[in-house]
């Protein structure tokens, strides 16, 4: 399928999100929203702990919704996705829970632990070079896959599932003034932003990226999807792409109020602070929002910082938070 043949992007409605929420209730954890106790002089920050989901990332929401929407025939043929990361684990987990076969196209250099986790969840893995995986992502197709693709970000139902998080946030903290979420593919922000803007338009929705990989920030300044010129790899491997995909730009732009950027050092400090004060482990991408909130980039609050995930090697985590 060529990109032009993809169904046009349409807004994620509140009804889509509410329906998703009902569908996924038995599969996901309604994660806690906890106040970060920092004492006087700090903004009022609450953490939405998506790292506590059964696969330790918010992606399970979208995956569970997409899988739950399959018809009988589609269920039998199974689902497939393209990801060695949190989306792959989410789809594998949701598929296993629903009794649906699952294949995952993964980059052959992905960490063994992540591949093992997906195999343990019953997924069949197809190993390919990076360029092949990227092409499959862009084309929404891969030779030999006949089941339903659950695209790891550019998928209406997947994003609607993420939106359920926005409903929970406003139920637990109706006074929320700002919500910050990391931007990788853009699905998190598109989903949560759609929910928030439908329920409480005055809430400010911010995307955040690491300074070393901030195409959304560049795109936001330019008013259209752009590449990030000096992209660098870092421990923040779950956010900050090389570019913003035009279809994802189209989804995010109407529901986002600003693009924030934090340094790797700020991110590292936010990871440590969370371990100390909230007693949770966040991966780099999961700490970006808190780092931006602490830097005062989202006002005085109440701010909700989405802790999107916690999947990183423990030895690496300990090294990063060591002083």
């Amino acid at each position: 399928m060529s990109v032009s043949a993809l169904p046009p992007v349409r807004p994620i409605s509140l009804a889509d999100i509410e329906a998703a929420r009902t569908r996924i209730a038995g599969t996901i954890l309604r994660t806690p929203l906890v106040r970060l106790e920092l004492g006087p002089g700090y903004p009022d920050i609450r953490l939405k702990l998506e790292n506590l989901q059964p696969i330790n990332a918010y992606k399970l929401r979208g995956a569970a919704n997409a899988v739950a929407m399959l018809g009988e025939a589609e269920r039998a043929r199974g689902v497939w996705t393209i990801s060695a990361g949190n989306a792959g684990q989410g789809v594998a987990y949701a598929a296993r829970k629903a009794g649906v076969p699952c294949k995952v196209v993964v980059i052959e250099t992905a960490p063994a632990a992540k591949l093992e986790r997906m195999r343990a969840l019953g997924a069949e893995l197809v190993m390919v070079p990076f360029d092949v995986a990227w092409k499959a992502l862009e084309e929404h197709a891969f030779e030999g896959m006949d089941g339903t693709l659950v695209h790891p970000f550019d998928d209406h139902d997947f994003i609607a599932g993420h939106g359920s998080m926005g409903l929970e946030i406003l139920e637990d903290a109706p006074d929320t003034a700002a919500v910050i979420g990391a931007v990788g593919g853009g699905g998190l922000l598109a989903g949560v932003g759609s929910a928030l803007k439908a329920m409480k338009p005055s809430v400010k929705v911010f995307g955040v990226e690491p300074a070393t990989a901030a195409p959304f920030s560049v795109s936001y300044a330019a008013g259209g999807p752009r590449e990030f010129p000096d992209w660098e790899a870092s421990f923040v491997d779950g956010a900050g792409g090389r570019s913003v995909i035009p279809r994802m730009w189209e989804r995010m732009r109407p529901v986002v109020d600003g693009a924030l950027v934090v340094s790797l050092e700020q991110t590292r400090q936010a990871m440590r602070l969370m371990a100390e004060k909230a007693r949770v482990i966040a991966e780099g991408a999961g700490a970006l929002a808190l780092a931006a909130a602490l830097a005062g980039q989202a006002g005085d609050g109440p701010i909700v910082a989405i802790v999107s995930g916690g999947n990183l090697d423990l030895a690496k985590f300990c090294e990063l938070i060591g002083e």
């Binding site: 059964p54 987990y93 007693r279 999947n311 300990c318």
Partner: protein, 323 residues
């Protein structure tokens, strides 16, 4: 043994109503990785995500809010260098009364800082049990404050039992529930709640082999206090009181002990799989599962994770060479 002198489910339900506005209903987490390793379904009640990072917030809040206004006006006192001191300081702050906390000289600086931040008034004494008790008695004589013992107090015991009450509601029917044993406050309240709700559920206590007074006392049917303590689980170094022992005798089905190596291994496994920070004491029940001290195959097992206050720069798996 006649049970009519012991705590009842009504005591724990009353505690829940009293402390409801001041404590968190903590999440119950699951992990397919830990389930696969154990061959069982494990449900982790995450009290490390409680206020002050430990279940102790529950018991202290119940004790402080059970006082009459006249009693409360004179304040509360306790001796604890750990989580209970913070819990009493916090609860007293919420009620707007003074908290006198006796701590040994040389107590870890972060713990003293946390007590101060919560408004507790610290008095330092020599690091012996006798000195702590003498100093606390002196303060009580001078101020008229009420002692809130860390475990030998029915209101504290009942408050600690509220976590198990929530676990029984939020998890599917459980075959076994496990918690660690220090002074016995948590297990007294928890076993009371669990056995009242589900008499067929087995309640098992776990403690370090290096602080095994409960196991010895349980086997001998008489209280045998600790004479020597050797464990990394710093929250479990206290000895049972006659009252907590009576609850254990009446309501606990078995007590198992675990090695120090198993505690560290279990702590690390919990960090890795659940993405949460738990302290060594918290890891003791899961260590018992991991070390095969409890037969869990095919069972639904509830595990109370008690707290998450650790020195991030002194993690037990960070030996010199690996930093």
């Amino acid at each position: 043994m006649a049970d009519d002198s012991l705590l009842t489910l009504a005591d724990i339900e009353a505690a829940r109503a009293r402390i409801g506005p001041y404590v968190r209903r903590t999440p119950v987490l699951t992990s397919d990785v830990l389930d696969a390793a154990a061959g069982a379904k494990l449900y982790f009640k995450c009290e490390n995500l409680q206020h002050i990072g430990a279940f102790k917030a529950r018991g202290a809040t119940n004790a402080v809010f059970s006082l009459s206004d006249a009693e409360a006006a004179k304040g509360v006192a306790t001796h604890s260098s750990g989580n209970h001191g913070s819990a009493v300081a916090r609860a007293a702050g919420l009620r707007g009364i003074p908290a006198f906390i006796v701590m040994p000289k040389g107590a870890a600086r972060p713990k003293a800082q946390q007590v101060e931040r919560l408004g507790g008034r610290i008095t330092y004494c020599e690091n012996t049990q006798a000195a702590r008790e003498a100093m606390t008695a002196k303060i009580i004589a001078e101020t008229g404050a009420t002692l809130v013992h860390p475990y030998d107090n029915r209101k504290v015991m009942a408050g600690q039992g509220t976590a198990a009450l929530e676990l029984m509601e939020d998890a599917p029917p459980l075959d076994i529930v496990l918690c660690p044993i220090g002074g016995g406050g948590l297990i007294s309240g928890s076993a009371t709640a669990v056995k009242a709700i589900s008499p067929t559920t087995r309640f098992i206590g776990a403690e370090p082999a290096g602080a095994d007074d409960a196991a010895r006392s349980y086997a001998a049917h008489r209280l045998i206090p600790l004479t020597e303590v050797h464990t990394i689980a710093d929250g479990l170094r206290a000895s049972l009181s006659p009252d907590t022992f009576a609850h254990i005798e009446a309501r606990v089905d078995a007590i198992v002990t675990v090695s120090e190596a198993a505690i560290v291994g279990a702590m690390r496994a919990l960090w890795e799989a659940l993405k949460i920070v738990v302290e060594p004491s918290s890891a003791v029940p899961y260590a018992a599962i991991r070390e095969g001290r409890v037969e869990v195959a095919g069972k639904a097992v509830g595990v109370i994770l008690t707290g998450g206050n650790v020195d991030l720069d002194k993690l037990p798996w960070l030996s010199e060479g690996t930093r």
